[in-house]
Amino acid sequence: MGIQQILESVTESQVKQGLPRMDVGDTINVHCRIIEGDKERIQVFQGVLMSRKGRGPQEMITVRRIVDNEGVERTFPINSPKISEFEVVRRADARRAKLYFLRDRSGKSRRLRDRRRGLKHVAGLKTAEHA
């Protein structure tokens, strides 16, 4: 086994299995486990998936939402045990891999097109809205 394979085998068990398919542009819910003192609760962060970067155990996603007319972006490690669940709320069509242009948009132009044309591969996939 090469060195790289050994390194990957060390972190293999930490990569989460069975995550829903999340593409850039989708609106998703991120369920974060927050520990306050000895109590634990779950906070949901809903927003547009703006970028996915990194591979394997290191993969990070950036989610953007608008709170009180102010853009808020949070970056989550996908495989962190502190995140209990991901949910896809709405699928949308994005032509680029990173939606940083959303930062410069306001009002209606901020919305992303619904996924319809030629995107049969995601047609039927479960989202929180339909469930």
Binding site: I3, T11, S80, P81
Partner: protein
């Protein structure tokens, strides 16, 4: 003082039980073979000589090969003594990462990456000069290195440009995050000296030995 010879494989990160991402260095540290046992009676001090790493027999000199055959161990690449080894072992035994447990503290000894001939800014952290504000040709220099007619000489040990790196260094008090006995791997928190693929020595921490850590 227990220890092992190992090979630094590289760095990655793992999540601890509380969900925090911990940076770790992965070290292949076994199997180590006990090659020789030195005693006060025969050698004047107590030590255990360990060997690690596969090697072709033809690449070893005959004296070394004879030394290894006497202990009935395979051809090994690196040999190293550990003084006052606290485990009871005899020549021919195998020791591995099992001698460490999660939560132990270790020291990692390795040869740092060679940087070649480096200037004072990189080598000693000098500030150098301004890059702008009219500075011209005086950006990464060290400044004056002496005083006046008295003492009339450059003080000994003055920090100057020169060869950097490729020296033996020890990083102390690193936490053992995980022990993987099947693959003989140790996950040690943080960075350890040297490039990936280099041989390193992982020994019980001098300042936080095993016994104290368990109390």
């Amino acid at each position: 003082m227990i220890g092992l010879i190992g090979k630094k494989l590289g760095q990655t990160r793992v999540y601890d039980p509380s969900g925090r991402a911990v940076p770790v260095t992965v070290v292949l540290a076994g199997p180590n073979y006990v090659v020789q046992k030195k005693t006060t009676a025969t050698d004047g001090y107590e030590a255990v000589q360990l060997g690690f790493g596969e090697q072709k027999e033809g690449r070893l000199t005959k004296p070394v090969l004879g030394h290894l055959t006497a202990a009935k161990v395979p051809a090994l690449r690196r040999l190293r003594e550990f003084r006052d080894f606290t485990l009871d072992v005899k020549p021919g035994d195998k020791v591995g990462v099992e001698i460490f447990a999660e939560g132990d503290y270790v020291d990692a000894i390795g040869v740092t990456k060679g940087r070649g001939f480096e200037g004072v800014v990189k080598r000693h952290g000098f500030r150098g000069g301004d890059m702008t504000h009219g500075a011209k040709g005086w950006h990464r220099r060290s400044g004056a290195i002496g005083q006046r007619l008295f003492p009339g000489t450059v003080m000994r040990g003055m920090r100057m440009p020169g060869h950097m790196g490729q020296v033996r260094r020890t990083t102390q008090n690193l936490l053992v995050v995980k022990v993987l006995p099947e693959d003989q791997l140790l996950l040690v928190r943080g960075a350890i000296p040297g490039a990936a693929g280099e041989f390193v020595i992982i020994r019980e921490s001098k300042k936080r030995p095993k016994v104290a850590a368990k109390k």
